[in-house]
């Protein structure tokens, strides 16, 4: 598996095939999920139609978390085996990760208004999601701030790994923080009991998002690899010694 992905040329061949497949899965999954979720599934008992935003929100949140795990895994591979394709993969996952995190936050906020009466409350899950967004931003900022790709990659690996260790700590601390002083304004959602009519569209959307994520990563990686090849082509010829004279 690793060796299959270690060679950029082989990887590109793979991505050329797999990319469109992922995209098709996304289109089919999203079409079914959205149609089933928005039109076929029953309105939620307490929240009515506003709960339909769930089909966008919940899988976005899942994918956002999965994307960071993916980045951390790739960074570990890059850190241990100095594997530059893994860096490319991790980097390409960052922007989609931010987009999904942002989508989860945005749809959550939109959903929060009718259900909690506020766009934002400092609830444990929301807070830790916001901190995840910061981790993503920090990670992307490092890639941005260091112009030399090879150097940026090393900084980014470090940050992704340390950030990953930090995630359970954040989760744990924020849960603790919130459980100590509950606020009345927060309406707790203990996971609405899910009927199959709601579950299937939800799962379809989850599959669609994952496929979208994969497609975005593949596309980003291919673009990066092409850019790297162009850079390598325009790179200078190395210097060589002409004379070595003894005393």
């Amino acid at each position: 598996m690793l060796s299959r992905f270690s060679n950029p040329a082989k990887f590109e061949a793979f991505a050329r095939g797999a990319g469109p497949v992922a995209f098709i899965v996304f289109v089919i999954g999203a079409a079914y999920g959205l149609y089933a979720g928005l039109f076929m599934a029953p309105a939620e008992k307490f929240q009515g139609d506003s709960a339909r935003i769930m089909y966008v929100h919940v899988p976005a949140a899942w994918t956002a978390l999965a994307a960071y795990s993916f980045i951390a895994m790739m960074s570990l591979i890059a850190f241990v085996w100095r594997h530059s394709l893994a860096d490319v993969a991790a980097r390409s996952a960052a922007l989609p990760g931010v987009v999904f995190t942002g989508l989860a936050l945005f749809t959550g906020a939109v959903w929060g208004k009718p259900t909690w009466g506020a766009y934002w409350v400092w609830d444990a899950r929301l807070t830790s999601m916001l901190l995840l967004l910061f981790i993503y931003f920090g990670y992307m900022a490092v890639w941005q701030a260091v112009p030399e790709t090879a150097r940026a990659a090393r900084f980014a690996r470090i940050l992704a790994l340390v950030g990953f260790i930090n995630i359970p700590i954040i989760k744990f601390s924020v849960d603790w923080w919130n459980s100590l002083h509950q606020t009345a304004s927060v309406m707790r959602l203990d996971g609405p009991t899910i009927h199959p009519s709601m579950l299937w569209p939800l799962l379809a959307m989850a599959v669609a998002y994952t496929a979208l994520f994969a497609w975005l990563v593949f596309t980003g990686m291919r673009a990066t690899l092409i850019r790297q090849r162009l850079e390598a082509r325009s790179a200078r010829k190395p210097s060589r010694p002409t004379t070595v004279e003894a005393v």
């Binding site: 090879a150 150097r151 390598a232 190395p238 210097s239 010694p241 070595v244 004279e245």
Partner: protein
């Protein structure tokens, strides 16, 4: 001027290094034994500074072999407490005087006679000036004086004569000769030929 305690030698075989993913230097082969110095010539951007950084272990070797020997035994990287590195920048703190800067380096490397070092580079006259006020050449002299504090067998010098006046160039030549006479080795990247008595490596693009 007692000889150095260790005999260190450095050899490269087809060595090369990269910067930011691009191949910069390739095919460098030479060997330096105790008492030998080498001048590294080459046009701007040919990779002289990069090679020095590589010998110091700051940049990875990309190709070939770089071999160090301490008293005959091969070691992996530049020998511990063995390298004196003079970079393009002057590595002095502007808020401290010339002398305080050197006291710091003496303390950091466990000893060294600051007064003698200042005298050797003809820096006594401005020892009490804050380094922020020194002229370009004066700063460079302070940086050079570090060489006499740290007592290292390997000198890696990047354009040691830059900004140095004509008398200063002679001083530097003498410092290097003394160092080689004690059994040290030196690699000197430079555009000014320091004269005979050195091996020469010329890089070309």
């Amino acid at each position: 001027m007692s000889p150095y305690r260790r005999a260190i030698s450095l050899a490269a075989e087809n060595a090369g290094c990269d910067r930011a993913g691009a191949a910069i230097v390739r095919g460098v082969t030479f060997s330096l034994g105790p008492g030998e110095g080498m001048q590294l010539f080459g046009p701007n951007g040919s990779g002289k500074s990069s090679l020095l950084s590589m010998f110091a272990g700051l940049i990875d070797l990309a190709e070939g072999v770089v071999g160090w020997r301490v008293d005959g035994a091969a070691v992996e990287a530049a020998p511990e407490a063995g390298v004196f590195f003079l970079g393009h920048e002057a590595s002095v703190k502007p808020a401290l005087t010339a002398e305080e800067n050197l006291r710091f380096w003496a303390k950091a490397s466990g000893g060294g006679d600051v007064d003698a070092a200042l005298a050797a580079v003809d820096a006594l006259s401005f020892r009490h000036l804050r380094a922020g006020r020194l002229s370009a050449g004066q700063k460079r002299r302070v940086d050079l004086a570090r060489a006499l504090l740290v007592d290292r067998e390997v000198w890696l010098l990047d354009e040691p004569t830059a900004a140095i006046d004509r008398d200063g160039v002679k001083i530097i030549r003498k410092l290097i000769d003394d160092h080689l006479a004690r059994g040290g080795i030196a690699v000197i990247a430079t555009h000014d030929d320091l004269g005979d008595g050195f091996k020469r490596l010329e890089l070309a693009r």
